[in-house]
């Protein structure tokens, strides 16, 4: 077994561990789509690994299986992004309403950028299926990466405390989407085997990091919050005095 194969297998072993932990902690109630996504990724890996290992399986069969599973995986990832976005706004209904418009515009803008990139940088025609796939994946990565960065910047800008597993999921997918954006941009333009091998390593490596992030967030206890109730009454009065001084001098 080569270390490249090991790098391909290891994230999926971690995904299986995360799936078990999610089931034990009943996290599937909050993130059902994410659990389905992980289970699907494991099944997809098993299928592709089998096709890669069986000598009678043709390259064409592998390519079709790869494309078919990739389409489902992309759709599920959008579902997961929707789920983490719901997690962020779960207790902030007012904010959800305010954010809905911004999210819609962001999505529209990202889709437009993806389409414009596909038109103006259609890629290398040398290997049509792979080249076409890279262009589609590049567009998907633009939208997914953009949405996740938007959600994270939105929470940062407003000072929202977005912790726990939901944030971990968003972070992990964000890392994969960012690396996908960079690697598929190169793949779409440069169709060389040497580059493809190097980029494959990068993609697999980012997926391993992503699985480690998810595992870390599911295992690590949530960082302790500094609760306002610990602040003395004097300090609260100080706030009030300062606010009143500012508002009604």
């Amino acid at each position: 077994m080569t270390w490249h194969t090991l790098l391909w297998i290891s994230p999926h072993v971690l995904l299986a561990v995360i799936a078990v932990l999610m089931y034990q902690r009943r996290l599937y109630r909050d993130f059902p789509c994410f659990l389905v996504y992980m289970l699907f990724e494991i099944v997809e890996f098993a299928l592709l690994y089998a096709l890669n290992s069986i000598p009678s399986a043709t390259e064409q069969q592998y390519t079709y299986a790869f494309i078919g599973t990739l389409v489902i995986s992309i759709a599920l990832r959008f579902g997961v992004i929707r789920e983490v976005s719901d997690d962020l706004f779960r207790k902030r209904q007012f904010l959800k309403e305010a954010a809905r418009g911004s999210l819609r515009w962001t999505k529209a803008l990202l889709v437009l950028i993806g389409i414009l990139c596909a038109i103006y940088a259609p890629g290398d025609d040398g290997t049509k299926i792979i080249g076409g796939l890279a262009v589609i994946n590049r567009g998907v990565a633009i939208v997914q990466c953009g949405l996740l960065v938007f959600l994270m910047c939105f929470s940062r800008l407003l000072g929202l405390s977005w912790r726990g597993f939901g944030f971990g999921i968003a972070l992990g997918i964000g890392v994969v989407a960012s690396v996908d954006l960079a690697t598929y941009a190169i793949r779409a333009q440069i169709a060389s085997d040497e580059w493809a091998r190097a980029l494959n390593l990068l993609t697999t490596g980012s997926y391993l990091i992503c699985a480690l992030i998810w595992l870390g967030y599911i295992l690590a206890p949530e960082s302790k919050r500094s609760v306002v109730a610990n602040v003395s009454g004097d300090e609260v009065d100080g706030w009030n005095r300062e606010l009143q001084r500012w508002l009604r001098p």
Binding site: V149, M152, G159, S178, L181, Q189, A229, W239, E242
Partner: protein, 173 residues
């Protein structure tokens, strides 16, 4: 090819942004003291004067168009500093409110929800006001709608904070 490298740069930038936000998310504190010092640094009267439409109308009448644009640009930049400070305070109040939501006392938790809610609205208004002021600083003399909503939102946050203070005092008694 240039699009490819722009996208590669965007991917790396996104990766950096995610790492920064993840670090900030784990290390940021509620910063009650910070909120108080930020508020202390703000002079509401000066801010009101800077965004007062009557003051702007007066300046428009008394100054030459060139002078007016220069003064107006400086006023917009100054007001922007106030709005940024108010925005920073709002973020700290959001955090304080969110922390209060985890109190074992249901009334304090309820007040925490209200603080976070009001402070979030204030933050949204400061973002909106910041953009408008930035526009005014770039193109002085364009539409200058009053920014009273910013102050209204802050008053609501203050009222909720007062309520939380009262609750805490009652608890201590």
């Amino acid at each position: 090819m240039i699009i490819t490298w722009i996208l590669v740069a965007a991917g790396l930038f996104a990766l950096g942004a995610l790492a920064y936000i993840a670090t900030w998310n784990r290390t940021s504190a509620t910063g009650v003291d910070g909120a108080i010092s930020v508020i202390r640094s703000l002079d509401i009267e000066a801010f009101r004067n800077l965004v007062d439409p009557a003051e702007e109308a007066f300046l428009r009448c008394t100054l030459s168009p060139k002078e007016f644009r220069e003064i107006q640009r400086e006023r917009a930049w100054a007001a922007l500093v106030y709005v940024r400070c108010a925005g920073r305070a709002a973020v700290l109040f959001v955090k304080a409110g969110q922390a209060a939501q985890h109190s074992s006392d249901p009334q304090i938790a309820e007040s925490g929800i209200q603080i976070a809610h009001s402070a979030l609205r204030l933050r949204l208004y400061t973002l909106q006001a910041g953009l408008r002021l930035l526009g005014q600083a770039m193109l002085p003399g364009t539409s200058n709608r009053p920014l009273s909503s910013l102050i209204d939102q802050y008053e609501r946050t203050a009222e909720t904070l007062l309520r939380l203070g009262r609750l805490r005092n009652e608890q201590q008694v």
